[in-house]
Amino acid sequence: MNAPNRHELFVLDDGEKGVEVIEDTKIPNAATFKIIKQDHTLGNMLRSQLLAMPSILFAGYKVPHPLEPYFILKIQTDGSITPTEALEQAGNALLKLISDLQAKFKAEFAYKDVEGVDGVAEDPYGALPSNMTTSAWGSSTRFYADYS
């Protein structure tokens, strides 16, 4: 119906900026960030990361409308750092966390090759039939219909 195109949910338009900072004039050390083309995935992660930081007094986010692909993030700090710095730190911490996670995952995945039976790659669904030397995923030159 009136749902936007899928790509509009994550592709920035020309000249559109991903993050917009609005300093709050009435509340000290507070700012509102408008983060475009992102949704709850990032919002919730950032919020919880921010709340874990000791210098944060308040962190909250909301998606004002489900069909508009942006969220606003409100941050207030105790003054030791600015909200922008806090967001940067939170972003960095998240990046570190996620890349750690990725590295760990990859490392674990690499062990799989080591532990596997020599010459016969193990399919996730078990050992391959003996007439197949490679995995069923792509590297085989034969089409499945050829077996018939």
Binding site: I22, D24, K26, I27, A30, S48, L57, G60
Partner: protein
Amino acid sequence: MHPLVRDVLERSPQLSTKPVEIVLSDKNTGFPIVQHRSKGRSAFKRALRQPSVQVNPVANSQTTQPLSPFTTPQRTVFNDKSSYDDISASADAILANMTQEERAKGQEEIFEHFGDGILDTMEKLKLVRERRKNNSQPSVQVMNPQEAVLPSTETKQPRRKIRFLDPTESDIHVYEPSPSSPRRPLGLLLPPPDDPQEGENITSLKSYQTSSKKHMTSLGDLASSADDSDSPESIRRRFFPSEPRPEDHPSLVWMLSQPTSTDQALLDNLTSNEIRYSLSGVPLSPSEICELPTHMGLHHHASTSSALSSDAPAGYTLEDLLHLSRSSVPAQRVNILGVLGKTFRNTYTAMFSFEETPMRDVYLRVNLNEMRRNIFDSAVEAVVERGWIGQRAVDVLWEIIVGCTCAEMRLTDIESFPRVDLTTSSIPNSNTTLEAKSRSLLLNESSTFLATLPVQRLLLPLKSHLIANSLFNSPTYNAILDIIYILCHFANHAKILVEPNISSGIISTILEGHLSSNLEFDNDNPPNEKPIRILQALALSSRDVAQHLLGPADILLRYVTTMQDKLRLNSIHASMLRETLSFYASLMRYGLYANIVSTAHTHFILLLSNLRKYLLDDVVGATPLLSTYLEILELLIVCATNPHQITPQHDVVWSQIEAFGWIDQVFDLVDTLTRIPMTDGSSKEIELLWTRLFHVLAAWTEGAHVNCVRSGEEEKKKTIMKLRPHVLGGTLNISLRRALEQLSLQKANMDIFKLNSHIHLINAYLRLSLSSMLPDHRLPFDSFSQDLCEISRVVLRNPATFDIFQVIISTNVHQSLSEDLHLNIRSLSALLFLILRIRFLALDSPGAKILWFADALLILHTFLPGDQYFAKWIIQRICETFSWDLMLRILPETIHHPQRGLDILLPFWSGTFIPQVITIDDDEDNTRKPCYPNIWAISEDLSRITSLNLPSLSTLRRQWQAQDSTLIFPLRSTWTLWPLDHLLQSGNSFIFKTLSTNWDATEIEVVRTTLIFTQVVQQLNKQYPSNLTSLSVMAGSETIFTCMKVFMLEDDQGQLETGEVYRDPFVEECLSKLLSPFTLRNANKQTTDFTSGSLELASRSYLGKRIPFYQFYTNFLALYDSISFSHPLFAKLLLPPLSSSYPRDYRKLFFGDYAHVVPTIRTEPADILSSGIEEYLWPIEQDRQILGFFMNVLFKYSVHGFLRWFIIHHLSANIWSDMHPTLEDFNPNYSARLLRAIFSQDKMDTVKNMVLYHQTRANLITPPQCYQPDPKIIEIRKNLLENYDISLKEAFSNLIIQI
């Protein structure tokens, strides 16, 4: 065995036969041996061949003979001497013919069959027989079935002695036959058996009352005697010394084994289904059920399985009656319908009368509504029948619909069914039924029952009965009219009644019957007013129904044309005419049918002149008719004032009023009235007529103000000139003075019913004074200005005045109030309003203005449904007159000043008081909001009124208690905040759809103005306290919810720069001031004002029934979580639902789903919104899940202020049993687990707090003292840890050492 034995009796004794099979019976089983008759001889042949020796079973067989319940007692007494002699003679003859062997064999058989004791028995029997022969004739009690008699003990005493078996060890007891009424209770209740007087013992049951009284008194004797020793044995010894001891007598064994159960106890245990009724519809007492003889016709119910057995109880249960009322035998059906009717009448009479009758308790046990519905169903089935059944069914319906309703309302008859006139006083004598303008339905239980009756099923049969019984004043005809009259009072029935296709025209049937036979008014056959009264009741019910009645209205004009000169001849004519006129008045109240008076004006003017003459002759007789006439005249003028408000438009116009010279007629009447001398008997009537005249003239001057040149100055002057001399002297002066006197005499409490006529007169006078005021703004009849000041002082400053209004919506719903109190009270609120209007003319100083403002606010709370125009006038004046300068005098410490005046809020209030007549398309169930008439007719009202029936007092109170959002009057204390509601629902708000184009306020302006106005109103309420303060001052929960609403007004429509409404400094200031009285810090100062109602209840008037407060709170919390920047006020508002008086779902939501907001809330304990911290701290939280959330929050985040206290308190109380109020709930295992979890945490300060925290309910210790180490507590806890794990003990001692 019984049937065989009975066979013996049936045969003639001369045959001297006996069933041989008994002798041949199998000894093991006792049953006869089966032998096919082809193998043996027939009984007849056997009897011929071998004459039997069995003699003795004759007596025996007699005693064991079962009797049908139809058996009358005398049949059972076997004392007929001749038959006995016959038997004995034949037995002797047989014996003589027997040989020795045969005799021996016979004896052997007898011994074998009856045991060894038979010899003794036979001897005793012989002795008895001889004694009886010698002594006297057996006294045979002959009972006459025609007289309802109780069996006397005379009958049973001799019989009891005919025993031939001694009650010794193994013998089988054989009871004598008895009538179906068992004898045990008789033995208890009746006088000793040796009473010589026969006749006096017989208790007649002719009327229930006497028998029940006798029964109750005998019960009383029993009770008193049982006081000494309440064993049945003592009773036996005292009253029945001749009876054998219970252990010797099998009939009395129950006295030993069972506890005594007196009749009363049985009565107490009776459930409503077990109540048995006699044929006159009276419940039978348990003893009567057992003892009543069968011939009274109470044992013939066949529905129960035991009906034919000898112990069938007497009487009919309701179920039996309902079953029998569908009998296919017409006579039975008629009778039973009659019994049902009587039963129901007895029940409701007993229920609604306060008299203490003996059986009232039994009646009260009946579920009246269920009974009513069941009987109604039976009657509806029967009403379709012709003849007697149908007529009897109509009678039953009358009891159900009319009789019960009247009884519930404590009315003596249907004539006095409440009809309260709004505009005039009621004439205080019994023979007049006032013309009804508006009346409320005063029924509680009945109303729900009656409102849901399936009327459609009734109408056709009723109509056929009407036609069949069209003879006037036949009981059935009148009963049907009564039934319809009651049904008319329910809006949904009224609609069905008038619709021609559904009802098959029952109303037109009534009218046709009525009119065709009513042309000749002869004295033999007086006309019946009931049909016209039905029309009127229909017209009152709703506008839609009234529109259907315009046809019949034309027909009734005949009374106006034909009867006007016969008034003095026959009072029935006058009352017919009055009913007709008041029916017209009801129609004109809706702005319908206004042209009738103009169309037939010659007749109406003739009628008026006739009435004038009549008045001179007989004031009392003419007043009811004349006052109704004047009412029509007033309505005519009101209709003509604005012809756009009537239906059809321009049906009457102002020029018609002027051209036909109505007012000259009225002035003539004024002259006539002044000539009438005032006597004690006629003062009330004269007062009423003056009231009416004032209203007519006031309507005229009001209309002239709109329709005539120079705002009707000429007309006003004319009125003043005409009336001034009468106000200054004469009967009018006397009446006015008396009314004022009466009013000022009332001090402590106000008898509104007595005062009403006086208040109405003063109201009419004040209304005329205001409407005929000339442009110089001076009251025209200045002689009373002094008295007016006095009156306003007396009425306004008398606490009793507002007491009455307070009572209307008092919290005690069950307090019994006169149901029409709220109708009578309207005159008083109108008086208060008029006084306010007059005082408004002379507001010169700011002080006077503020005082007026305070009074106006108070009077707003006295209004009830129908007073919307008064409320609108007041709010308009407030908005126009009161500038911020004035407001800030009331609130001097306000820092911020609003820029906009109160006028931006006026549409919200006046639009809610008087909703615009707009049909909203998207509203599916587009029912027009009910609109009730003003106390006197005003032209704006005419097209809006939906019904002339005001809601009943009980409905009103119910709606008030339930916080029904449709209820506007009486006003709630939160009425000043209505604009916020409309802002929150601006999409659906009807106000925003009807706002004028030049309304240009912004959201923030509306909020600011609303909040400061609310503050001003609350401040004034506190400065000028009255008895209505409890209604006008906002409770804590209401204030909290209001503030929540302000926070929910989030402003995120692309205006991120300006921020939310609550960030506005002005709004913030207002909110904190509104909330400050309800914080814990100020709780002690506000002991009386704070009523800590639940937020769930306070929110209902806004959220409605469908949306729970929990949902609102979820949104509120989510809003806080996302955008609040931990606003302190916002945070404060989150806390009230965490108290233990709310369900634990709130705590789960808060500490579970929104645990991350906990660290952002820094509210200190003194700032929380509560009347006492106890409601948060006790009872101790036991829910493991919530305790888990607490642990998580406490050790994951840094928690501050009140929440830290709250969490540590509940966790510590679950660890340390010294803080736990009851040790039963305390679980040491769980405590150990909690401790272990705590000691493993690394937040040392929190762990210390948990370990050292101590609290007592009696003497509250606030933070930080409660976290300080207390040696005593430490010692106690050390001891507590003795039973725990060693590692815990060590951890604890390590911790203590660190401290």
